[in-house]
């Protein structure tokens, strides 16, 4: 395989950018050309998540190549939801690795801030399963449900979990102060964090990446430069929460990472720093576990112990992450790569000079993820070694819930109270993943504002194709128990209705 190197790399200032998307892309391209010997490129690989609905233009690759004054040059768009920037890098990597092209420009960006929040929330929610969306579920709602499962699985108290999330938010905002191209440059205090509003319990505003405009650019080259891509991998995972066997780990990351580590011939402990997709603070914690940086359930403690601080053992998101750098969805996966290149070139205040950095990008609700390992060209190459974990060629999804059957009762598997709702839903909106009597999962909307807990028993009814749930009261549960006893008695004595 032809080795692939990075030449120029750059990005626009992330934040609210009044210019049209193609102009933002144009500036990003210029930053990458400025920092590389611009002797022409063979092709352009473009990552953008949803230019169609965010900007009203499709055929975006042609729009961009035309705006760059490069009409003629091959240009194609690659998309995997919020990891589109990493996907474009991946496709560009394969284009060079094949020997088909010698030099390609990878561009990734998004324009989002011109729309109102509920429209943006609706467009972003199109990445998730349509049945879950029917209940009013959004990306933050599902991320919150995963967080609640994580808390329960690792026996964390509410306040312990909140402290962990707060530690991630504070670290990334602190790192963001140093990043001139990021959206936010303000360190936040514990009070700032705990005073911020809930988006979807237990996630607050400071747990969620903002809405942002921006673009990033990286030139890939077959000619040797100072940085090479030594490992790259992609993985997918089940679309809906209902079909997941595990909630507190993302198979899409684990598959991508196994492939990238294998290719680079390195183990997780040989990574010096990483940029991770922290669209939600708990995802940074889970991802540091999935990448093998910390054992399962220990990622939060590592953040609390400042192991992931910029001057820590393993700096995570020195750029400020999606949290503080901002999250123009299509751009983020490539902006991470720009940051890692900076780090490898000694432009970040890391404690020790890094030889190897990693980026991890998440598409949708961890349904389409990428891991990329970059290293200094003067670093010794990794050796073929045992895999951290075998790469599953195919992950069979869990059995699909039998949706035609009508479930009447179930148990709360996880839940959230959503405060920022999509168009047509009023906050606060209680949402829960319910396990029915057959063991299938379904998404349901709460009928009232009862206190919720994992393991609670609920009644279900179906209205307009949506499941609604109410928590069983103490008395109802006692009645249920008696009824069950009575039925068993009837069955045993054979005096039931013969029909």
């Amino acid at each position: 395989m032809q080795p692939v190197y990075t030449a120029g790399a750059g990005m626009t200032k992330f934040g609210k950018d009044p210019r049209p998307l193609v102009e933002i892309f144009k500036e990003a391209a210029a930053t990458a050309f400025d920092s590389s010997a611009n002797d022409g490129i063979d092709a352009i690989y473009i990552g953008v998540m949803n230019a169609e609905e965010f900007t009203g233009n499709s055929n975006i690759a042609s729009h961009i190549v035309d705006a760059l004054g490069l009409a003629g040059t091959p240009a194609l768009r690659v998309e995997t939801a919020s990891s589109a920037g990493a996907a474009a890098l991946f496709a560009g990597f394969q284009a060079i690795a094949s020997g088909y092209y010698r030099r390609v420009l990878v561009l990734a960006g998004e324009k989002m801030t011109h729309l109102n929040t509920s429209t943006t929330t609706r467009v972003l929610a199109e990445v998730i399963d349509s049945e879950e969306r029917l209940c009013g579920a959004t990306m933050p709602a599902l991320a919150a449900m995963i967080t609640e499962k994580y808390r329960r699985k690792y026996h964390l108290s509410q306040s312990r979990l909140e402290n962990m999330l707060c530690a991630v938010a504070m670290k990334n905002h602190l790192n963001g102060v140093r990043n001139p191209l990021g959206q936010f440059h303000k360190a936040i205090s514990r009070d700032d964090y705990f005073n911020s509003k809930f988006v979807a319990t237990p996630l607050r505003l400071y747990d969620c990446a903002p809405i942002t405009d921006g673009a990033a650019a990286v030139v890939l080259s077959a000619e040797e430069t100072d940085v090479r891509i030594s490992g790259i991998g992609q993985g997918t995972g089940p679309l809906s929460l209902r079909d997941r066997e595990t909630f507190t780990s993302f198979p899409a990351t684990r598959i991508a990472a196994a492939r990238a580590y294998e290719m680079a011939g390195v183990a997780p402990n040989e990574i010096d720093f990483a940029e991770i997709h922290d669209a939600f603070t708990p995802f940074e914690i889970i991802t540091t576990e999935d990448l093998g940086f910390f054992p399962a359930g220990k990622g939060g403690k590592a953040a609390l112990d400042k192991k992931t601080a910029i001057d820590g053992l393993l700096p995570i998101n020195p750029s400020g992450g999606l949290k503080a750098r901002g999250h123009p969805v299509g751009a983020s996966g490539l902006a991470q790569v720009v940051e890692v290149i900076k780090g490898l070139r000694g432009e970040l205040p890391l404690k020790r000079a890094p030889r190897r950095g990693l980026t991890q990008s998440t598409g949708g609700l961890a349904t389409n993820n990428f891991v990329t390992i970059l290293e200094r060209a003067d670093a010794p190459k990794g050796k073929k070694r045992d895999l951290v974990a075998p790469i599953p060629r195919v992950v069979k999804p869990a059995r699909k819930a039998a949706r035609l059957r009508f479930a009447e009762e179930g148990v709360i598997e996880t839940f959230t109270i959503l405060y920022i709702t999509p168009d047509g839903f009023l906050p606060p909106l209680a949402l829960a993943l319910i396990r029915d009597r057959q063991g299938d999962l379904l998404m349901a909307q709460g009928e009232d504002n009862a206190q919720l807990n994992i393991g609670q028993e609920v009644f279900l009814r179906r209205v307009d194709g949506i499941y609604l749930f109410t928590v069983k009261s103490q008395i109802q549960r006692v009645q249920d128990a008696f009824l069950k006893l009575f039925r068993r008695h009837q069955a045993t004595n054979g005096d039931g209705d013969p029909s």
Copy 2:
């Protein structure tokens, strides 16, 4: 470069398909698996143009891999407007050629028929330049303007042109009768053609590909099979008509073809049959010229002379083409490949057993095109030879029209009367590309239903950001001439206003 072979290939029955998009994709995948040794695939490359607006779901790659029961397997979406299927094949090709994967599934499809025609027309029109769209221009409108330029450039009478277009439409519909998976199976007569309604003069309903649902699938493999991809290339071209230096030839095709021919080491006369993007019949004619099959201006005569018939010298679109097979936009570029594989396997009634077939796919208004050459693995490999034309690394777009300056007069460069208009525009709608006094091109809407001709002088005014034109009358042109004479007289005698 690792050689790339095609294994399984198949497609759904194109037409009106009531199933959701992911179900259509699922069936397409099954057809490709059925016809190949299904020993697992490493990844999926998906071509779809605009699932977002056609179906309301984004993150389509994850939706599809989940629906296939293959969650875990890497899956990414590639998009270049209406050539998305060819783009997915191209990216999948590079993935295998690089040695990164050994076996990938390429899938491409679109779901369109569930929306009304004016919504579909609007969504499809998002591929074109936004300023041209403001006037009400659609894909057929711009294709019609190109056709009128072609007629004028090659000195064709109206009826000669119409006979050429009719020949292409009749040929493709006749071929479609034999294709069980196509949308239309009815041969059309000259009367059918000439009785069909105008969509945008001179293009009639039978000159335009229909709105269709469907998907295609091809398995690519590093293991040798009976068919290999011997050449593949991509090219782009200026987005808007206003920026084009040539209207009757598509640089995007010429660039893609030059690359594909060079790679395959063959000349156009070594191609035995081809599938070409005939979204509009004149595009088939222009493309057979751009591909070097016929000299410029001779593609129409070749169709009239039945050289491109299925039993002709160079069969074009034995499948029926987009015209009769149907045009689920994202799918078409890959369905062409499925057809060429069939041909190479001897499953088409071609006159002589083909060794080599070519596919050409067009994105948008020929802004993002692909050419792929497939050959029987037992055919002798092509040799490195002189290029048909040098590959331009970069095509500089023509000078952008100075849009802030207000043009008052101009000359019609080309025009159409649009009968199927997008939402908010009433038919018949006269549209013209006007060359102003400075030589810049602009798009304008006619104020009345005057008879139009290339070269006519027009007055322009600007209302709500749109140029409106009226054709100068004979008297106005005489007045103009007198006024010009008078001004020159004033200037010569120095008795003009000194300011």
